[in-house]
Structures are given as structure tokens and as C-alpha cells.
Amino acid sequence: MKFETEFFNIGYLDTLSYKDTFVHRLDPRIKITVSFIFILFVVSFPKYELSALIPFFLYPVFLLAAGNIPFRAIFKKVLFVSPFAVFIGIFNPLLDTRVLLTPFGIPVSGGWVSFLSILVKFVLTVSTALLLIAVTSFPGICEALERMKLPKVFVLQLLFLYRYLFVLLDVGLRMSRARDARSFGKKGKEIKTFIKLISVLLVRSVERAERIYQAMLSRGFRGEIRVLKHHTLGLFDILFAVTAVAFFFLIKKVHIVNFVGETVSRYIR
């Protein structure tokens, strides 16, 4: 079962990545760079920082909304991968019990604050990574990486992996289903059967690679592969990058949340 959901998930994100919106049309190099800078900003906050992180949500929210990405899809994925961060982070409240602050009279330990901080950072960084692929096709990312001087051999590796990912996932899925159809309870899922399944999958994969190689040869392949460049940096790309990074700097320097909070609190009083 898990295989199937994963399979369809990756296919779903992949489909989203080929949409046509303003965000999708931005140069992949810009999106990668800005997202990376975003993450650096987010993780640069010290461990007790919580509310200052909030304004950073604007970036992933923007990508999601402008890129027409369904919120639920991203939400479910983030939830799905959260256990590790939670698992490690949960030790903070357990070990750091000194009360740090008392909002509304309730004592809250530093450990809880840092734990929440980890969670917020987690949501910010993970959702941004997902949204990056959701608004940029994988070949687009590969093209960007090559232009950012990553070795061509490696870029080709990424492209070929991507190309045959779905094919092999399909083969694996069918093998998995075939096995499930003849397994009962735990019988059939032992490591011995697994080894045989995987080995067969491996051999089939190697044979497939050999056939692909033959196909390449039959079309004149002699060692060089040319990958097209589809993107050129435009005004909007630069504008987007500058605006985004400037925004990150701003909200890092200026504690907007506190400002808003204080203004409102004063108003209430």
C-alpha cells in the first residue's frame, strides 16, 4: 500500500511541475537560488527564536498560491515526513525545563520554545523544498544546475534517473503487487523473497540499460549528449530574486511580529 501512495505522490508532484503559471515560468536558477537563500535565512535563527520566523511563511505561501498548487497535497507531505524532526526535537522540552517565559501566566519552558522553533523551521524548509519542485519541472532544475556549473556527467545522471524513474517504479509496483497477491500475513514478505524480487528487478534494469544503450547507438551516439537550454534570465526573474532576498533581509532585521503584536496590545489596552 505504501508503495502505491508514494508512487502516485511523486507522479502528482511531477504533473504539477509542468503547469503554466507566472511562478512556473520563472527561471529555474532563480527559484533554486532564492529558495536556498530562504532556507539559509530560516535556519540562521537561534534555537529560541519562534515568532520572528512567522513572516517567512510568506515565501512558501506565495509559491503555493501563485503557482496554483493545492494546499492539501503539500500539507499532507509535510506531515508525512515530520516524524524525524519531531522525534529528535521532542528531547528539547524533556531536557530543557527552565521556564523561559510566562504568556498569560502559563509557564513555558525553553525546551518547548526551541521545540516549536524546530517545528516551524521544519515546516518552512520542507514545504519550500516541495514547492520548489512543484513549480519547477525536474528537467528545468537539471538545466539550471548545469548552467550553474554542475558537471555535465552528473546532470545527465539526474536526467536519466528522472526519465526512467516512473518506468521502474511501475515495474517495481507490479512486482510488489504480484508478490502481495501471493502473500498471506507475513508469509511471502520475508527477506529471502525480497532478495529474489530485487535481484530480478536489478537484472531487468541492467538489461533495460543495455537496450537503451543500443537505441542510443542506433541513433549515432558517440559519447556526447546535448541537452537543450530552454530558459533565459528575464526582467521578472531578476525582479523576483531581488524582491525576495530583500524581503528576507528585512524580516530578519526588523521584528515585524513583535511590532504588530505590541501595536495591537497597546491598542487593546
Binding site: 528537467p139 528522472y162 518506468v167 537505441a215 542506433s218 537543450l228
Partner: protein, 246 residues
């Protein structure tokens, strides 16, 4: 024009593990002929095609295409004349987009970017897939993949078109489109298939392979209506003829 003649002279092929797949095939195919290769599984159809396209080299005997005899050295040259469409489309479409896949051959031929673009557009137009030009291959249906695979080969402007089970896994409509497409090609065509109805519709000549040898060779009309001959070679009448029979 002599350079389009395909000549097989007593061709034998033995696999590294000892299997004798071809045991003396002699065949002559002239320019523009459309030949269907039929035969039960394991009889040597695919091996024959692989030899014809230069993927494999006969262990005995000779294959000559145009004036070039197939050998290790002339493999590359043969490949330029012969376009092969493989059975599994996924093996043939390995680039990130349809454009780049169809362009792969022309680029390797050393053509200029202009010329490459021309060839790609022409090839895709030929198979009615121009609208798929920027699609990634894994987002194509089986029928579309098949058509694009043909385009990747046509873009190299081959003299001879070789196809291995071109209609397998196609839905009826795609299959019909493929048949119509192939009928429109003036190239020399060599098509291996289980689909005897396809061979009937597309190929004027039919060759039956049995146990690595030619069991029959003649006009498709004759061969494919000879029920006894077909049965002897583990085949049946084409479905359309079975219906007519009653």
C-alpha cells in the same frame, strides 16, 4: 537504385551462450519493398532484425546493405541507412523532451541547429505528433510513444525502416493510425510482427521464420491465406481471414 538493396547471404548467428538463433538465412529485399517477418516466438525474428540493423554481426554469412557489407567497422555506416524502431518504446525515448529525443539522431549526424529543427518538425509532422514537441516522454500514452519513436528514426532520414512488433500494446485506434502511417511510407520496410493482419495490410511480401530458417517467402496474399502452411509454422490465419472463412 542499387544502394537500397538488402542482401542476406547464408546468414548464421549464434549467441554467446551457444544458442543458434539463425541457421542460414538468405534473402533479398529491393528498394521500396515492404516485407513482413512472421514466426512463432523464439524462432529468430528479433535476432534477424538485430543483425539487419547492425546491433549484432552474423557469425557466418554476410549481410549487405547498399554496397556496404556489415562488419564491426561498417556498423556505424549501416546504422545511418537503417532506422530501427524497437519493441519497447521506453527504451527508445530517453531524453527529457520529445524534441530532444527526435533531435538526438540528427544532432549526432552533425547537422546544424537549423537543420535539426527542420528535421524534427518534419518528422513529428509526419507522425502527427507536432503538438507533443515539448512533452516529457513519460507523459505520453503508449500510442503516442510509438509514433514519437518512429519520428526519432525518421528524423535521420533512413533508407530502410525496421520495426519490431510495432503494434504491440496499442489500442485499436492507435493501431489503425499506425497502419495508415506505415502504408504512407515509401521507404523499404521490414516489419517483424505477430499481428498478421497488420502484415497483411502493410506488407506486400511475407517471410515466415521457423527454427532460425526461412520456411516460406512470397506475396502476403498467398502466404497469409495458406492455412496449412501457417499452422505448420505455429501460426494461424490472420483474424480477418478467419472471419471470412465461415
Amino acid at each position: 537504385m542499387s544502394h537500397h538493396i538488402v542482401d542476406l547471404h547464408d546468414v548464421h548467428f549464434r549467441y554467446p551462450d551457444g544458442t543458434e538463433a539463425l541457421k542460414g538465412i538468405s534473402l533479398r529485399i529491393v528498394h521500396g519493398e515492404s516485407v513482413g517477418i512472421a514466426g512463432a516466438n523464439g524462432m529468430g525474428k528479433t535476432t534477424l532484425l538485430m543483425n539487419l540493423s547492425g546491433q549484432l554481426i552474423p557469425t557466418k554469412g554476410e549481410i549487405t546493405i547498399g554496397e556496404v557489407t556489415l562488419s564491426k567497422k561498417s556498423k556505424q555506416e549501416i546504422r545511418k541507412k537503417v532506422g530501427v524502431v524497437f519493441q519497447r518504446t521506453d527504451d527508445q525515448l530517453f531524453m527529457p523532451t520529445v524534441y530532444e529525443d527526435v533531435a538526438f539522431g540528427p544532432v549526432n549526424l552533425g547537422l546544424s541547429e537549423e537543420k535539426v529543427r527542420e528535421r524534427v518538425n518534419a518528422a513529428l509532422a509526419m507522425v502527427n505528433c507536432l503538438h507533443l514537441i515539448n512533452r516529457p516522454p513519460h507523459r505520453l500514452s503508449e500510442g503516442q510513444k510509438r509514433s514519437v519513436a518512429i519520428a526519432t528514426v525518421m528524423a535521420m532520414d533512413p533508407d530502410i525502416l525496421i520495426m519490431d512488433e510495432p503494434a504491440s500494446n496499442l489500442d485499436p485506434k492507435s493501431r489503425r493510425q499506425l497502419i495508415n502511417l506505415l502504408r504512407g511510407f515509401k521507404h523499404t520496410k521490414i516489419i517483424a510482427s505477430h499481428d498478421l493482419d497488420l502484415i497483411q495490410d502493410v506488407c506486400g511480401r511475407c517471410v515466415i521464420i521457423q527454427d532460425g530458417q526461412i520456411a516460406a517467402d512470397g506475396p502476403s496474399e498467398e502466404i497469409l491465406s495458406n492455412e496449412i502452411l501457417l499452422k505448420d509454422n505455429s501460426l494461424e490465419l490472420p483474424l480477418s481471414r478467419q472471419y471470412l472463412r465461415t
